[in-house]
C-alpha cells in the first residue's frame, strides 16, 4: 500500500486507488543512473527489474548512453564512499549529471527522479543534488521519511512536478510498473 501525494501548482491530491491515469506516462527502455553514487541506484535497478521494465543500470552513465532510451531515471543520493569508488569528486559528479540531464532535455527524453534512501540519505551533500536536479524531472518518487522537512514537496510545488510519496522503497515497485507504458 503506498500513499500518493500528487502535487501541482494548484492542488494537492491524496489518492489511494487506481492512480495510473492521473500520473505522467513514461516510455521504455529506461536508463537508470545515480546522482551522487550511492548504492540506492541498485535499489532502483532491482525495483525496475521487479516491475518488468526494460532497463539498463549504469551508475556513471554518460550522454552517449542515452541514445536509444526513452526515459532517464535518476536515483538521487550522495555517498562519499561511492564517489570515491567511482573516482569522482562531488563537482565532477554534478557536471556529469547536469550534462546527462541537458542531453535528455535536448532529445526529449523524459526524466523520472527517485529518492529511495529515506531520511538517512538526506544531508548537506544530497540536498545540494536534490535542489539542483529535481527541477529537471517530469515526476518524482520519494520514500516518505526522506521528505520529512518538505524539501521535495516545496521544489515540486514550485516547479509543478508531480510528487509521489511511498512509505518504503519496495512500495515504489507498483507505481514504477503503472507509470511506464507497456511495450
Amino acid at each position: 500500500m503506498f500513499l500518493m501525494i500528487l502535487i501541482s501548482a494548484l492542488s494537492i491530491c491524496f489518492i489511494s486507488g487506481n492512480i495510473a491515469e492521473s500520473l505522467p506516462r513514461f516510455e521504455q527502455p529506461v536508463l537508470i543512473t545515480s546522482a551522487g553514487q550511492s548504492a540506492d541506484v541498485q535499489i532502483g535497478g532491482v525495483l525496475a527489474k521487479r516491475a518488468g521494465l526494460l532497463a539498463t543500470l549504469s551508475k556513471n552513465a554518460t550522454r552517449q548512453e542515452l541514445k536509444d532510451n526513452k526515459t532517464l531515471a535518476l536515483v538521487i543520493g550522495v555517498s562519499m564512499k561511492g564517489l570515491g569508488a567511482a573516482g569522482l569528486d562531488l563537482d565532477q559528479e554534478k557536471t556529469r549529471v547536469k550534462e546527462l540531464l541537458e542531453e535528455a532535455q535536448r532529445k526529449g527524453i523524459r526524466v523520472l527522479c527517485l529518492h529511495l534512501g529515506g531520511e538517512s540519505r538526506r544531508g548537506e551533500l544530497s540536498d545540494q543534488m536534490i535542489q539542483i536536479f529535481l527541477p529537471y524531472a517530469q515526476m518524482v518518487i520519494v520514500v516518505k521519511s526522506g521528505n520529512k522537512d518538505g524539501l521535495f514537496t516545496k521544489i515540486c510545488e514550485d516547479k509543478n512536478i508531480p510528487l509521489l510519496e511511498v512509505n518504503r522503497a519496495s512500495e515504489a515497485q507498483k507505481p514504477l510498473k503503472d507509470i511506464f507504458t507497456q511495450n
Partner: protein, 527 residues
C-alpha cells in the same frame, strides 16, 4: 559498566556481570551479542585486538586476534598486469583473511574469564532469534553496502529484507547465526576452525574465487603480547602493538602534541587544527613507511616513540604554512573512506577492564556468507597494500596492518579512561582528539566524544584534504584555507570520523562515566 555500539550488546554484557561474570566474560558476551545486533561491523568472521587490565595482578596484557593471510597469499596477488584489482581486495574470495575473533575470544575466556562458552553465548543466541528493530544507522549502512550484499550474499540473504535494504523500524533476525552459535556450544568453538563450519567457510571462499584452505583455518592461533606503553604528562597509556598502527600512532601524536601549548590555542582553534593536521600527515608517512607485520619485518618502534623523534616532527611543523613534503617510502593511498569496525569497553566490580576493538573490515565485510551459517566473512586482506614493494604487502600467514587502537589510560598508576573507536584510518586521529579534549580542554567524556572532529593524511609525500565536521565554524575553516589546507566539509555528526565508546573513572566522585558516540548507535550502562 559496559559500553558498546548497540544497546542490546550492552545489555548482554551487563547481564553477564550481574550473573557474576568478570570483565572478560562480559566483554566476550558483548562481542557475541554485537555479532547478532550489529552484524555489519564485527563478528566471528573477523578479527581484532583487546587490552585487558587485571586488577588483582595490577597488570595489563594484550590479545592479538588479528586475521592472517592464507598460505597461498603473495605480494602481487592483487595485481593484474600491474593494475590493482580493487574488487579482488574487497568483495571477492581473495579478500577474505583467516578469521581470528572466535579463537581470540575463546583464548581470553579460557585464560582470564570465569564462565563457559555456553553462558556467554546466551544473549547472542537470544538476540539472533528474537531479532532487533533496525536503527537509522543499520539501515543507512545496509543501503550503502547493498550492491556488495546483493552480489555476494544474494537477494534471499538475511542481511536484506525481501531482497532490499532494511528500513528503520524493520525487525532484523538471524536464525542461521543462532544455529551456528548453538553448534559452537554442542561441538566446541574449534568447529569453526576444523569442523563443519570450517568446511562451509572454505567452500564459500573458494566459490567466490579465493585461495584459502582448511589448513589455513586449522593453523590459526591468537597471540598474547605485552601492551605498548606511552606517557603523556601525568598519564600512561596502555594500548596494542603492531601490526596495528593505531596504538603506536596515538602515542606518537601525544608525544608531538606535548611540545605545543594546545590549551592556550584553544579547542578547535585554527592553530590547533593546523598543527594537529600537519602532525597527522607526518604520522601517515610513517604508517606507509614502517608499518607491517612485526613477525616479518623490523619496525623501529623505539625510535618512532622516542622523545627526539617527536621533537623533530614538532619543530618542523610551522604556524602559517604547510610542509612541502612528508617523508614516505611506499605507495599506500587507499583505505581512506572506510568507517567500519566496532569497539566495546567493560569494567567489573573488581576493577578488571577490557578495551576491545574488532572488525570484519568494510561494513558487511566481503559480503560473503558461508552457506546456512549466518555470519559474514571479513575483507581484511584489503588492509594489505596491493603494491608488492610495500612493507605491508600480502604474504603467507602475514597479518595486515590495522588502525585499531583500543587503550586504557592511567592517571598516576590508576585506571582513568577506557577508550576505543571504529573509523578505519580515522581511529587514531579521533582517539587522540578525544584524549586531548578530556585532558587539555577539560571536557566531560560525553562532550569529548561528541565534539566536532577533523582528519587529514598524506600520501606519496603530499598533503591531502582536511576533512572536517560541518560544526567547525566557517571563520576557522576560512583561516585554515588561507594557510593552504584544502577543506572538505562532511556532515555535522559524521560516522566517517568513527564511533567512539569510553568509560571514565572519576575517583573524586567514585563513579564510572560511560560515553558512547551518537555518530553510531553507541550505548552504555552500569549497575
Amino acid at each position: 559498566m559496559v559500553v558498546a555500539a548497540h544497546p542490546e550488546a550492552v545489555k548482554a554484557g551487563l547481564s553477564t556481570l550481574k550473573k557474576g561474570g568478570n570483565a572478560v566474560d562480559a566483554a566476550i558476551a558483548t562481542a557475541f551479542a554485537l555479532n547478532a545486533a550489529e552484524p555489519f561491523a564485527s563478528g566471528i568472521g573477523g578479527g581484532g585486538f583487546m587490552v585487558i587490565f587485571l586488577a588483582k595482578e595490577k597488570r595489563a596484557t594484550v590479545i592479538n586476534f588479528r586475521e592472517k593471510a592464507p598460505a597461498k597469499a603473495n605480494p602481487s596477488m592483487y595485481l593484474d598486469k600491474e593494475n590493482v584489482q580493487d574488487i579482488w581486495r574487497k568483495s571477492h574470495g581473495l579478500a577474505v583473511a583467516v578469521p581470528g575473533s572466535l579463537a581470540g575470544w575463546a583464548y581470553a575466556l579460557e585464560k582470564y574469564g570465569t564462565m563457559k562458552l555456553e553462558k556467554v553465548l546466551e544473549s547472542g543466541i537470544q538476540i539472533a532469534e528474537r531479532g532487533i528493530p533496525v536503527s537509522q544507522t543499520f539501515s543507512q549502512i545496509n543501503k550503502d553496502e547493498y550492491e556488495k550484499i546483493l552480489q555476494n550474499a544474494g537477494e534471499s540473504s538475511v542481511y536484506l529484507h525481501d531482497g532490499l535494504p532494511y528500513e528503520p523500524g524493520d525487525v532484523y533476525r538471524n536464525p542461521e547465526l543462532a544455529k551456528t552459535f548453538k553448534r559452537l556450544i554442542s561441538h566446541g568453538w574449534q568447529d569453526f576452525y576444523d569442523g563443519q563450519i570450517a568446511q562451509e567457510i572454505i567452500e564459500a571462499i573458494q566459490r567466490s574465487g579465493g585461495i584459502m584452505k582448511l589448513e589455513d583455518l586449522a593453523q590459526y592461533s591468537p597471540i598474547e603480547q605485552s601492551p605498548l606503553e606511552g606517557i603523556y604528562k601525568d598519564y600512561t597509556i596502555y594500548t596494542i602493538q603492531p601490526p596495528s598502527s593505531g596504538g603506536l600512532h596515538i602515542i606518537q601524536l601525544l608525544n608531538i602534541i606535548s611540545h605545543w601549548p594546545v590549551r592556550d590555542w584553544g579547542f578547535n582553534s585554527t592553530q590547533y587544527i593546523h598543527h594537529l593536521s600537519e602532525a597527522f600527515r607526518f604520522i601517515f608517512a610513517d604508517k606507509a613507511r614502517f608499518l607491517g607485520d612485526p613477525d616479518f619485518i623490523e619496525i623501529p618502534i623505539e625510535q618512532l616513540l622516542s622523545e627526539d623523534y617527536a621533537s623533530q616532527i614538532a619543530s618542523r611543523i610551522l604556524p602559517g604554512h604547510l610542509q612541502e613534503t612528508y617523508p614516505y617510502r611506499t605507495f599506500d593511498k587507499n583505505q581512506i573512506e572506510k568507517e567500519n569496525t566496532t569497539h566495546l569497553g567493560v569494567i567489573d566490580s573488581q576493577g578488571n577492564i577490557v578495551s576491545l576493538t574488532q572488525s570484519i573490515n568494510d561494513f558487511f565485510g566481503s559480503g560473503i556468507v558461508p552457506e546456512g551459517c549466518g555470519f559474514l566473512l571479513n575483507n581484511e586482506m584489503a588492509d594489505f597494500s596491493p603494491h608488492p614493494d610495500s612493507v605491508n604487502s600480502p604474504g603467507p600467514y602475514k597479518r595486515p596492518v590495522s588502525s585499531m587502537g583500543p587503550l586504557i589510560l592511567f592517571k598516576k598508576d590508576l585506571p582513568f579512561l577506557v577508550l576505543g573507536s571504529p573509523g578505519g584510518t580515522r581511529i587514531f586521529t579521533s582517539l587522540t582528539q578525544i584524549i586531548i579534549n578530556v585532558i587539555e580542554f577539560g571536557m566531560s567524556l560525553d562532550e569529548a566524544i561528541e565534539a566536532p572532529r577533523f582528519f587529514t593524511y598524506s600520501s606519496e609525500g603530499a598533503a591531502k584534504s582536511l576533512f572536517v565536521e560541518s560544526r567547525i565554524p566557517p571563520n576557522i575553516l576560512r583561516s585554515l584555507e588561507e594557510i593552504g589546507h584544502i577543506i572538505d566539509v562532511r556532515e555535522a555528526y559524521d560516522k566517517y570520523f568513527g564511533g567512539a565508546q569510553g568509560i571514565l573513572i572519576d575517583r573524586n566522585r567514585n563513579i564510572l562515566i560511560g560515553g558512547a558516540d551518537s555518530r553510531r548507535d553507541g550505548s552504555g550502562a552500569g549497575y
